[in-house]
Symmetry: D3
Subunit: 257 residues, 6 copies
């Protein structure tokens, strides 16, 4: 059988052996969400899965199946639920999914889990799901679970951001469907990117509040919140190198690997 | 961009155009579950997704991302939760996931959905999730949603089963990780099957009831409930041909395509 | 006081004594559901309660109050929710009811429970409810609960079915409001059956999938999915004899009674 | 078939006809709860069902199946959950059950429902369940549902209480398993009462607060909160006469019957 | 810093010290609810908080922040949800709030809690919330939590009621926005009472049942269920003296303070 | 009666009149959470309530009662749940509270609501609660609700931050219990601040990920994440002036006031 880092590509005895050997399990948390007219809607699945795959290889871990439906998109960070194709879960549903997966992994004997967020709006419900899952495990007598929870995009060197954004980094939230994500997609799934469709209606100028109902023109009609021009697979590689090395280092440090 | 039947491989404007044109959306409902020592644990993701992909091409539809975590496995149909790697959701969680996806698709304008079950234990919670989702859509004023819900394995000709099981078909439930699933995996993801690891501790002889806690030896220790010997990609192709042609025909008939 | 097998017909000290003596508790799970124009809607309450009563006498157990509202009816197995009088619970509600009863019995000291399903659609939510109840009991320190879960209609001898269906058994799902249930009702509550109202619009010819909304003519308008002609109390007795002897034997074996 | 006021003893066409004719549906809400050493634990099922049966005959209504598991018992009104045999639902579960039944009846076309409480602790969760059920019906377009909710024991004449309690009525809460309930059971199910086992450890002297955990001796060890001596079927008849006539009058007035 | 009995007015080290010293924590449970045209809608916050504050001083305890939104108001006890400004939680929501607060206090080391109800309809959901919270704490290994739950208005001497109601006490439920509450508000927050706006449309004459929808004229249009004329701060002081002395005595007795 | 901007300090007719006149309702969302050894634990209640009060006066609105228990605290933004006194709700509970309040206000006729977050971790569950509440209102036929949701601390001028942090602003998250919050408390409730207890163990140096269990020394033991030295009521006034003027301007603009 293939020697895969993907948990679901292993047979159960293979998985059992790796868990007994102490494998860290990475759980990518994605979404099905608009990412502009120039990219597929699976960006938040492809990217964290790609990062997890590489980090798992580095540190000798496994990657659990990515949760492909995320918590509902907000206009200021992902364009919002009104975009066709953005198909999301309620926060409570999402948290229960995380709770159940954590509980299942814990019962299998997994004792080190890293949640890797690939969709901004998954941040808080993943915190909640983790808390609920660990609470259940404790009540089932499993008290030694070690967990990290991170957004992969936070693991980038200052100098890389400076190279990527000579005019200044617009900030994580606005990067939706923009240069960072587009470059990483060009690296991992170039056939799902069409650079000639990159729009020019950004960057978004959001106020410091949310609005219901979302007013017309609250964000760019394209769904690209900042700017995707200038994206390239090469830049994607710079980012991926940072993500993998910095996350691997953090995981090794925290879990004494 | 690739011309994909996978919804998440489209950009949102491409998806929007297909939905406006009346595309049927297929939603495969999988699991991460032991499938014997000779196969990967993603069988219930790979198979319904593969079926959906082919049917969607036939009828001009789209495939939504497969839900990769299923409702909890039972000993008599999937080996049960005690197998390492079987990582499942509570029925309520699973139903809420389906509810939310149905609601999301309905709001996008999708009016024809086919739920394709790839994991036995997803049957009833998918019924519940559908009922909850349609209830919400009705209350949001969307009353014309047309849905089918099916187990792909039911779409097979009598003659094909006779060819596959000259000694008689043991029945759907016992087929877990057995000849049907193994043959389809050999067709779709042969690198995830190792025929030399096929066990011989089946077929299971289950009583007509469930037991808690699961008694020792309640089912085969391997997790293969019937027999996987004799599986082949060719047999997988026979099955796939039936699944695709029969499901396509049913969908065309029901949705007047 | 009457020496009753019905738990709720005992005083609490009588119940306490029987529980301390190790009584097995049978919990019938029924429904309020259409059963054709010739029978009352309490069939799924009367039948499993009648079976439980007799088995409890055989093995020295108790019968807890039957849950009289079941999980929502499906067209292919019970006619569906559109029939007037079919009054059902959401799957989550039903599971919580089971969870709470299991938890309550467990706290009383009961250590052997048999769930006896009398309504097809209760199968899976009863599994879920049990899992939730046992999970709570474990967390309350009660880890030695022994449970069986069964559909009473599965406990019938091949030869009895052959006697009942000389032309072949149509299968459990289609038997809704048909020969088996009608015969058992004629045995237990003949005043609730009117054989001259038995319809002839069956047997149903269902496709291998569910449909929403239910198409006109999807199943017989009468609600009798197969055929009820030829039902008799005598046949009901044959069935009851099988149910009682086979379930009693299974319970004795599993619980070492 | 029997001409029954019990909804579940009708066939669906009979039920449909009665609903179309405007039948009021009575829903008794019971419990499985200790009622002293001298009575069965189904008192809260038998009594409200018996009242509903008689009132339904008076006003031409139907009785839906009694919910036999109630909301958790409290020491000051029912002895509390620590009594063996008291088997209860969480308030949320109980409310969802009511919600679902109300919704189901409403969809059948029922437009007049009377909830008849037979267990003190069902009061508030029945209010909640009703509110949830009516909320759902409104959202399904059913806005003309008329509902009453009552405790049957409140429908008694002052003079009857004076006859029953020449020394003064101790109040509804303390009447648990005491003279009122015992007399009504002697009327309806005398075989489930053993007057020679009536205890003498009451009446309870409760403080004006609840306590967790319940202190030893907080209430009478027998579970009889007031006094059951002197109960008789004759007194039960006095009560039943009041209950039936007063409730019937109230229902007729409110629903213009 | 101020030496406050209000937990939230302490710094965390001050709070920690008091908890370690065994402080009893009082949790007032209020509402935002109409209280007639002559009073503010925070009566059910002001009154139990005022009582808790004084009792906490007496017995050396702390007062947790009052929950300012209560369980939904009923016409017969609070006027009902139709009054503008009455802003309430579902029973389940309210119970979860109590559950979470109890759990949080328990984890902090608090071992004595008194729930003080200031809003009639909070009674039962506070019981449920407590039960859920204590259940969780037990599963977290905290089994020695001591709790009281009370309605402050029950702690009044017979002679005080006689002084207040020379013509007879109308009963707790009807006292909504009436003499007792108005007098206590005149004591605690006189600027929120306007005696010249006291209405005269009471006392209410309610039947012994609830009705949905609430009929016109079911209760007084003013929202004052009994009579508020004659209220005074002096009478409020009589009540407050009783509440504080009787509750303090009960708490000391139960918790051995 | 006082002419109050606090909704709960009005009588229901006064409130009704203001709602009919189109009053915007401000809902502060607080917490009971450690804020260092030098401040009370009600900071997240006092501050957003104070801001809301002033903005409501500016724009002619009302302030609903502050929710005093927030969503669970995280180590990187509030110190975490391990601090004594931090008493929080699960995210689901918190969302349901918001849902219910929104629904209640909407039914009263309120059509403009501003959620003002005073506790970092309330951000996302307030989004969820709003979404759930608006969903319910839509289904109840109320489709014209206008809502803003904001963190008050985002409404500050660049120049004010520059004045406050001549060495650079450490960022919102780290400001927990630090200069901004301390200065505002010195302005609003100086008696709840003890400047001589301001600790010096910050600023926190957090990694870019969360950890479970929280490692020793993950954040400052004091709970002050940045630096509180140098706080003053004068600086609090600068901040308050910005908050009030900028939020008022935003509300006026969005709601056309």
């Amino acid at each position: 059988m293939v020697d895969s880092v993907f948990m679901a590509e292993l047979s159960w005895p293979e998985y059992e052996a790796k868990v007994k050997a102490g494998a860290t399990v990475f759980l990518p948390l994605g979404a099905t969400e608009q990412h502009g007219p120039h990219m597929a809607m699976n960006v938040d699945v492809v990217l964290p899965t790609g990062v997890c795959e590489r980090v798992a290889r580095e540190v000798g871990g496994l990657v659990a199946p990515c949760v492909p439906y995320g918590c509902k998109s907000m206009p200021r960070s992902g364009g919002g639920e009104a975009f066709p194709g953005t198909t999301s879960l309620d926060a409570h549903t999402f948290s229960l999914v995380i709770r159940d997966i954590i509980r299942g992994l814990g019962r299998d004997g997994v004792r080190r889990i890293v949640l890797v967020i690939g969709h901004y709006e998954n941040m808080w419900p993943s915190v909640e799901g983790l808390d609920l899952g660990l609470r259940e495990l404790r009540r089932d007598g499993i008290v030694d679970m070690d967990v990290m929870r991170l957004e992969y995009w936070d693991f980038v060197k200052r100098e890389t951001l400076d190279r990527l954004f000579p005019d200044g980094f617009p900030g994580t939230e606005l990067e939706h469907a923009s240069l960072l994500e587009t470059s990483l997609m060009l690296l991992l799934r170039p056939e799902l990117v069409e650079m000639d469709k990159v729009p020019s209606d950004g960057p978004a100028k959001f106020p410091t509040y949310d609005r219901w109902p979302t007013p017309k023109g609250f964000g760019p009609a394209s769904g690209v919140l900042a700017v995707a021009h200038g994206s390239s697979a090469e830049k994607g590689q710079w980012l991926m190198d940072d993500h993998v090395s910095l996350i691997s280092a953090a995981v090794r440090k925290e879990f004494n690997l």
